[in-house]
C-alpha cells in the first residue's frame, strides 16, 4: 500500500518519509508526563521537540517534507533511536534550495540598500533582512561601519518568524563580533543546497577535513546555502569551490578519490 500505515516514529528513523506520513509516538501516559514536568529536577526531561518538516498531528507527528527522518536523544547524545521513550528531537533532513530564515541561524547576506540607520540584506528568503548599523562590534553613532551596497555580511538572525521582517545582528549577546561582520572584498561566493551546508557544518565533517589537507583556505558557511571561500590564489579558490559544489552528488569514496587526485598533482 502506498499510504504507509502509521508507524512508530522510532522505527522510521533514518528512513525516507514523505509528506502525509503519520509517525506514532510511543504511548506515554499523560499524567506521567505531567508529573515529570512538575518535578523540580528537570523540566526539560521528557520533552519531545518536533523539528523542521514535522507537525503535531492528531495521533502523533505529521510529516510535511520529504527527506530522511532524524532523531537526537534528549541529553544531546546522538541517539540511535533506542530508549527514546519520552524525549528528544525528531526532524526531517531534506534537500532543499530555498532558505527560510530561522532565529539563531548564521547566514551570509548581500547588502542591497543603505537606508538611514539600517541596511537591507538579501539572504535568499522571501523577505529582505534588516541590519542596524549599530549591530556591529564597536559601532557607535559616530563610528559607523563601512558598508557598501553589494558587500557580503556574515551575521545571525535575532528575529526570524513567519509574521515579522527578519532582523540580523553581527554581534553576540556580549557585544563581540565572534567571527561575524563584513566579509572581505576578496574570495568567492557561491550557492549550494541547504542540505549540503548542514552536512558541512556538522561536527567533524569529513569533507572540510579532507579539503584542509590540500592547502590552507578561509571558509564561511551560511545556513542560507551560501559559501564564501578564499585561498591563496584564484586557481586554488576555484578548486575548493568546485569540490564543495560537486560534493552534492558525490559519495564519500568518490570525494576522497577526487581530493587524493588533486593533492597528487
Amino acid at each position: 500500500m502506498a499510504a504507509a500505515a502509521p508507524r512508530l516514529a522510532e522505527e522510521r528513523v533514518g528512513q525516507v518519509v514523505l509528506p502525509g506520513d503519520v509517525l506514532l509516538l510511543p504511548s506515554q501516559p499523560e499524567e506521567d508526563g505531567e508529573r515529570l514536568r512538575l518535578a523540580p529536577s528537570g523540566p526539560q526531561k521528557g520533552r519531545l521537540v518536533c523539528g523542521p518538516g514535522l507537525r503535531r498531528g492528531g495521533e502523533g507527528l505529521l510529516v510535511t517534507k520529504c527527506g530522511l527522518l532524524r532523531y537526537r536523544g534528549p541529553a544531546g547524545q546522538a541517539g540511535g533511536g533506542t530508549g527514546s521513550g519520552s524525549g528528544g528531537t525528531y526532524w526531517v533532513d531534506s534537500q532543499q534550495k530555498r532558505y527560510v530564515p530561522v532565529k539563531g541561524d548564521h547566514v551570509i547576506g548581500i547588502v542591497t540598500v543603505k537606508a538611514g540607520d539600517i541596511f537591507k540584506l538579501d539572504v535568499g528568503g522571501s523577505e529582505q533582512a534588516s541590519l542596524s548599523y549599530l549591530a556591529f562590534e564597536g559601532a557607535t553613532k559616530r563610528n559607523r561601519p563601512n558598508v557598501q551596497v553589494g558587500d557580503l555580511i556574515y551575521g545571525q538572525f535575532i528575529v526570524a518568524n513567519k509574521d515579522m521582517e527578519p532582523e540580523m545582528v553581527c554581534i553576540d549577546s556580549s557585544g563581540r563580533a565572534n567571527g561575524m561582520g563584513i566579509i572581505g572584498q576578496d574570495g568567492f561566493l557561491f550557492k549550494v543546497s541547504l542540505g549540503l551546508i548542514r552536512k558541512l557544518l556538522a561536527p567533524a565533517c569529513e569533507i572540510i577535513q579532507d579539503l584542509g589537507q590540500l592547502y590552507p583556505f578561509e571558509l564561511v558557511l551560511g545556513m542560507n546555502g551560501r559559501i564564501w571561500v578564499k585561498a591563496k590564489t584564484i586557481q586554488q579558490t576555484l578548486i575548493v569551490a568546485n569540490i564543495l559544489e560537486a560534493c552534492e552528488h558525490m559519495t564519500a569514496e568518490q570525494r576522497k578519490h577526487a581530493v587524493a587526485r588533486l593533492s597528487e598533482s
Binding site: I110, D122, G124, Q148, G150, D186, G187, I234, A241, N242
Partner: protein
Amino acid sequence: MKETPLSNCEKRFLLRAIEERKRLDGRQCYDYRNIRISFGTDYGCCIVELGKTRVLGQVSCELVSPKPNRATEGILFFNLELSPMASPAFEPGRQSDLLVKLNRLLERCLRNSKCIDTESLCVVAGEKVWQIRVDLHLLNHNGNIIDAASIAAIVALCHFRRPDVSVQGEEVTLYTPEERDPVPLSIHHMPICVSFAFFQQGTYLLVDPSEQEERVMDGLLVIAMNKHCEICTIQSSGGIMLLKDQVLLCSKVTGVKVAEITELIQKALANDQKVRKEGGKFGFAESIPNQRITAFKIEQATIDTDDVQEQAEEIIAKASPPSEVLANPVLWAPGTAQIGEGVENSWGDFEESEKEEEEEEVAQDKSTTDDQTMEMGDTSVGNQDKKDETIVLSDSEEEDVIILEPEGAQKNRTETSYKQDIASKKPVSKKK
C-alpha cells in the same frame, strides 16, 4: 520576483579570474559548454541543453493566405519566450527589452538569412501557403540564451515534417500522416549563433558566457554563421569599441565552433531518424539517463479494478437520495431571473485594473443593477453596495441565471430544475 543581487566580491573575483584566463567551470576561453540535443515524440520538437541552459523548441504549421506583397512565399514566424521557470527575474507575459532583442536577433539569423526555402511552402500562389511557426521556450537560464535558442530553432526546423498536400485544379487535399508520409522542410543552410563576451573594454573575450559571466561583461558580440563560413548576421551590444582584428578573430572562432555544432546536430538528427525507422523507442523518456538517482521509472502498471463496480454500487446504495429540489426561480424584473445562491467565483483574481473597472461599473450602474444581473464580478463589491436589498449576484461559471421568455418559460423551468438536480447530486456522490 527579484534576481539575487550580484555581490561586489563575486564581481571582483570573476573579473580577476578572467584576467588570469580562468573560468568558474574550468573551461578555456574558447570552449563551449556541453551541448545535448534530445527529441520529443512529435516531429519538430526538441530540447537543447547548453550546459545548464535549456531551451524547448517546437515547430508547427498551418495553412494561411499569404501576405499580399509576397504571394508565392510561405510565412516563417519565430517566438522565443522567457518563461518565469527559467529565472525568477522573468515575468510572465512581459515584453522585456532582452526578449525583444533576442527575438529580433533570431529572426535576423534564421528568417533573413533565407535558410528556409519559403517558396517551397507555397501551395496555391496568392491563396494558400504554409505558415511555419517556431515556438521556443527558455526553461532554465544559465547564460547564453541566444546560442541555445538558435540551435534549438534550427534543430526543430530540421526535425519537423509537414503534412503532404496535393493540388488538383482548385482542390487542395491535405494528407494525414497515415495516408502519406509527412515531408521535411527544405533547408538551404543552418545558421548558428555564437556569442562572445568582452571584459575590460574588450581586452578579454570569452566564448559562450555563463550567466554569472554575462552579469559582469562589458559587451557582447553575436555572430551567426553557417558551416560554409558565410556570416548571416552580426550584432554587437553593450557599446564597446572593437578593433577590426578582434572581429576577424571572432569570426574565425565562429567558423570553427559552427562546424563542430553543425556536425553534432547532424549526428543527433541522423540518430533520431535511424531509431524511428527501426521502430525503436524514442522521445524524451529515452533521453533521461537511467542511472541518475533523481530519475525513477516504472513500466506499465496494471491496476486491479475488479470490484470497482461493487464498490461504486455500495457507495450509491449508502448515499441518501438527493433531496428533490424544485427550481424556484425568482423573477426580478421582466427578462431576468435567478435560481440558487451562486457560489464563489473560482476564476481567481482578476487583474487589479479589471477589478477597478468593475467597481466603477457597479458604481455607475448602481441604479440600474437592481434589475440586472451581472455576468461576472466581485460579489462582495456588489453586495456591499446594496445591503438593503436581498439580491445575490450570481457569478458562478455555471451561470444559474436564466432568461424567461414568455413563450419558452415553461420549458426553461424544467431544464433548470434538472440542472439543480444534478448540482445537488454531486456533493452527495463525492462523499465516500
